[in-house]
């Protein structure tokens, strides 16, 4: 019911969404983050901390299942190099009722932004730079503090 996957492979959006429709699900919510090109990014590279990453994602997903009535919580995160338009991350939640699915979905992506060991590096032409952590992400995550 919890599914966590970190891989350099492209994210199979349709497959992951349909996977959680099994069983007696009433509501499925999803969030997908994609590489944007508007600031001239050619390549976005995701580095992570193997082992610790998966453990962190499972902890986030498990916390969501304790807080909301969920039938599924999926977190798929791509790592390695990717191009504008490609999917970086997908979270999917399934629940009997919509409020649980929607709130848990927002929780998973907010938490993932601050609590999982991923680092983004952007390349524009021959310039590479590490993305700075944003205060707005910390604020978004902290609104879930009970």
């Amino acid at each position: 019911m919890i599914r966590v996957h970190v891989s350099p492979d492209p994210i199979d959006l349709a497959g992951e969404m349909m996977r959680v429709e099994q069983g007696n699900v009433g509501a499925v919510a999803s969030f997908c983050g994609l590489v944007r090109a508007d600031d001239g990014v050619d390549v976005l590279e995701l580095e992570h901390y193997p082992g610790a990453t998966e453990a962190a994602l499972e902890r986030i997903a498990r916390t969501a299942t304790e807080r909301w009535s969920l039938q599924a919580a999926t977190i798929i995160h791509r790592v390695g190099p990717m191009r504008p338009g490609e999917r970086i991350v997908l979270v999917v939640t399934a629940a009997p009722h919509r409020r649980d699915a929607l709130d848990a979905c927002a929780y998973l992506i907010d938490r993932l932004k601050t609590d999982a060991p991923f680092w983004k590096r952007e390349t524009r032409g021959d310039q590479a730079s590490w993305v700075e952590a944003r205060d707005s992400d910390t604020a978004a995550a902290s609104r879930w503090q009970a």
Partner: protein
């Protein structure tokens, strides 16, 4: 003890991972950072501002005041930027 570096910490030090025996007196993550920075070069460049660093001890995310005594694996890295 295995020390792991990620993102620009890794790049500046020029290593993803190394095995080190810590001297007496290196008890916390902050001690470890100070001790490594004193090596100069890429270490000094990567670790000069501890307030910009985050750490994990045996894959648990901790504050810089956390103990490293008896740890098998310590990771040093910038604030995370996934998702």
């Amino acid at each position: 003890m295995t020390i792991l570096y990620f993102a620009w910490v890794r790049e500046r030090i020029g290593l993803a991972e190394e095995a080190l025996a810590l001297p007496d007196g290196v008890a916390s993550v902050a001690d470890l950072i100070r001790w490594l920075a004193a090596r100069g070069g890429g270490y000094a460049e990567a670790l000069a501002e501890p307030e910009r660093l985050r750490a994990a001890v045996d894959q648990n995310f901790v504050g810089l005041d956390a103990s490293v005594v008896g740890a098998r694996e310590v990771a040093l890295f910038p604030p995370v930027t996934g998702g």
